[in-house]
């Protein structure tokens, strides 16, 4: 897949499953994701996989579950983020954990409990009208505020159930799954090139990260080695995706704290970035620029000069705006101490990516497991200790500055040569994974192809899975009007987790 990412497969028996995962937990490994594949066409049942990130690379613990096997031992007591993954696993693959929350997560009623859309024999489900059981908070003066799925602004749909006393939030319960559109099953219906386009649309704001992760998995299976120039151009696209999202978020965060000038200024800079993308890469959002073997774009010297100039303009502009944000008492008053996720809680919940870095967990794949070209770039990992909105703003500013520096560095060191490996005969089939630090955090794709080159299973995983539960904690004790600000400071994906 690449020069640095080591992937270890660890098949275990039912008895070894939990001890193996406990050992990983004790060693400080982080849960990446949990998924299952239907192997009944091979005369087996389901193959359950749990992927973990450890210092040297990725380890995938694999448990075969024959048809009719007893529920597998739950792992959410070790890795709390697994709680929703376990529920989704039952909703989609029909694989049940032992104990835990029995409510559906992804399934709303378009199909019934027991219909498993990711089984190969699934032919559409029976609607199930059972209402969802929200947790009720009782007590004097407690009332509920139900928000969504359609929100007041231009954001993705989801439901938030606040239990409040006056304005103070006692509890937030999230209900997601509204934009579930059957992505994992859809992968198996598409040829690899179309599947790569689908991967770029798992979460459209992270198109480059998902497409790159998908391509890494596919390139591993097909034994394709990506030319150095292409890896640099991929990184250039990924950093521009990070810059675009951070610019948008910083503007929106200013706006949510009542500073409209911030929104106008940052949205102007984001638009400038998109216009240069259109000029240089042929699309404001180059969603399909990363392709198997390399990239589908070329960079002319004139294009490179334009990008270089823009990186330096943006560096100056954002530095000035940062000084304004930092000195603005009204904004700092809203940011500081708001939506706090202390480091200890973040570690316990397994929070990841940008949100983790703002709670003092300085982990970034570009530093920890750098794939080319990051191995040659000495990326500086941003981090802040506060765990509040202010810290998430600070991390965005730091990462913005670092991405602008990296962009310049990538252009200065851009190697000559091909931008895409020559097309190859279809691979004999196999299994591969891709792991990329997108702007929210680690984006993971596991891909399995059949001997005819078709996709047997593709599991894309967005880092938002690990951070949504932390948002429920971050709002506790704050007031309802602070929720939009706190939510924006996380800016998590709905589409990426609803799938």
């Amino acid at each position: 897949m690449n020069a640095t990412l080591a992937v270890e497969h660890a098949p275990v028996t039912r008895e070894q499953w939990l001890p193996r995962i406990e050992a990983l937990h004790a060693a400080g490994a982080r849960l990446l994701t949990l998924w299952a594949s239907d192997e009944r066409d091979h005369g087996e049942g389901d193959l359950l996989r749990a992927a973990f990130l450890q210092p040297g690379g990725v380890v995938i613990v694999e448990l075969a579950l024959p048809d009719g096997a007893a529920p597998y031992p739950r792992i959410d007591e070790l890795f709390p983020a697994a709680a929703r993954l376990q529920r989704a696993l039952r909703d989609l693959s029909g694989v049940q954990a032992e104990g835990g929350d029995r409510r559906p997560w992804i399934r709303h009623g378009a199909w019934s409990d027991g219909d498993a859309p990711l089984r190969r024999d699934f032919r559409g489900g029976t609607p199930d009208p059972t209402p969802y059981g929200f947790v009720r908070v009782r007590g004097d003066g407690v009332h509920e505020i139900a928000v969504g799925p359609v929100h007041a602004g231009t954001i993705e749909p989801g439901h938030f159930r606040f239990s409040v006393v006056g304005e103070k939030v006692l509890r937030l319960e999230q209900r997601l799954g509204y934009v579930h559109k059957g992505i994992e099953r859809r992968f198996t219906e598409l040829a690899p090139a179309a599947a790569r386009r689908l991967a770029a649309r798992v979460s459209g704001d992270s198109a480059v990260a998902f497409a790159w992760a998908f391509c890494l998995a596919e390139e591993h299976i097909r034994g394709v080695s990506v030319p150095p120039r292409a890896t640099f151009l991929r990184a250039l696209l990924l950093e521009r995706e990070r810059i675009a999202n951070h610019l948008g978020d910083l503007g929106a965060l200013g706006n949510d704290a009542g500073f409209g000038v911030g929104l106008a200024q940052f949205m102007r800079l984001k638009e400038d970035l998109l216009r240069v993308n259109a000029q240089v890469f042929g699309a404001r959002y180059p969603m399909d620029a990363v392709v198997t073997g390399g990239v589908a774009i070329e960079l002319t010297p004139a294009g490179a000069a334009l990008l270089q100039q823009q990186f330096s303009v943006l560096a100056g502009e954002t530095e000035r705006l940062r000084a304004i944000y930092d000195d603005h008492a009204g904004m700092q008053d809203r940011f500081l101490g708001c939506g706090k996720v202390p480091g200890e809680l973040a570690r316990r919940l397994g929070v990841t990516g940008l949100v983790a870095r703002a709670s003092g967990i300085a982990r970034d794949l570009r530093v920890d497991l750098p794939l080319p070209p990051y191995d040659a770039l000495a990326v500086r990992c941003a981090s802040a200790a506060g765990g509040d909105v202010a810290a998430r703003v600070a991390v965005r500013f730091d990462e913005l500055a670092e991405s602008l520096r990296l962009g310049g560095e990538l252009l200065r060191r851009l190697p000559p040569g091909e931008v895409c490996a020559p097309a190859q005969a279809p691979a004999p089939g196999g299994f591969g994974v891709g792991l990329v630090e997108g702007w929210r955090g680690p984006v993971f794709v596991a891909l399995e192809t059949a001997t005819d080159g078709s996709i047997r299973r593709c599991h894309p995983h967005d880092p938002s899975w690990h951070n949504w539960p932390a948002l429920e904690h971050a709002i506790i004790g704050d007031i309802v009007p602070d929720f939009p600000l706190i939510n924006k400071s996380f800016n998590l994906s709905y589409s990426g987790v609803d799938l």
């Binding site: 709303h108 009623g109 378009a110 199909w111 859309p117 699934f122 559409g124 489900g125 799925p149 359609v150 007041a152 602004g153 231009t154 954001i155 993705e156 749909p157 799954g177 509204y178 934009v179 579930h180 559109k181 059957g182 992505i183 099953r185 859809r186 219906e189 598409l190 179309a194 386009r197 689908l198 649309r201 798992v202 979460s203 459209g204 704001d205 198109a207 948008g248 000038v261 106008a264 200024q265 949205m267 102007r268 984001k270 638009e271 998109l274 404001r284 959002y285 969603m287 000035r320 705006l321 000084a323 304004i324 000195d327 603005h328 994906s493 709905y494 589409s495 609803d498």
Partner: protein, 164 residues
């Protein structure tokens, strides 16, 4: 404060922005809609989008497109809206919310399908979890194609919907 004013003065008025159209929607076929002119109150509904189209809908408000200068604005309730901007294939889980939002929007109302998925389901297609395009669920007056569609294409589709 001085830094803020300096920054505003330094950037100045960004060129290239849209000019407000003079004709107040005489072209609208529906006489009641003529009062809206080219200044509709709009509500966005993400019915299953990947979030790509939302990025371009956000851009409508930036200083370059500045739709509010020509009277177009987003409102926080469908009851205040003349027009719905709907993105994404319609997921089965969002179908009811979309129908309810559409019902809550007072007549005369217009619907714009934003993006390739909203037009026909796009790469997601119709399946066990997706109903396909917006027109498979509610009547659509105009479409903006693209993945995601550029802000100009969205504005043009809004204007076409108002004239329909």
């Amino acid at each position: 404060m001085l830094d803020i004013l300096k920054q505003i003065a330094r950037v100045g008025i960004v060129a290239g922005r849209r000019q407000a159209e003079a004709a107040p929607g005489d072209a609208a076929a529906d006489p009641e809609l003529r009062a809206v002119g080219r200044a509709p109150c709009m509500r966005h509904v993400d019915a299953g989008s990947c979030n790509g189209c939302e990025l371009e809908i956000h851009a409508l408000g930036n200083v370059y497109y500045n739709i509010e200068a020509s009277g177009m604005k987003f409102v926080a309730s469908p009851r205040h809206a003349d027009l719905l901007l709907v993105s994404g294939p319609v997921s089965r889980h969002m179908r009811e919310a979309l129908l309810r939002t559409h019902d809550a929007t007072p007549a005369p109302k217009r619907v714009v399908a934003v993006g390739d998925c909203a037009i026909d389901g796009g790469i997601f297609d119709a399946g066990y979890a997706s109903c396909g395009g917006v027109a498979d669920v509610i009547a659509v007056d105009a479409t903006a194609s693209g993945c995601p569609p550029a802000p100009e294409a969205i504005i043009a589709a809004i204007e076409r919907a108002l004239e329909s």
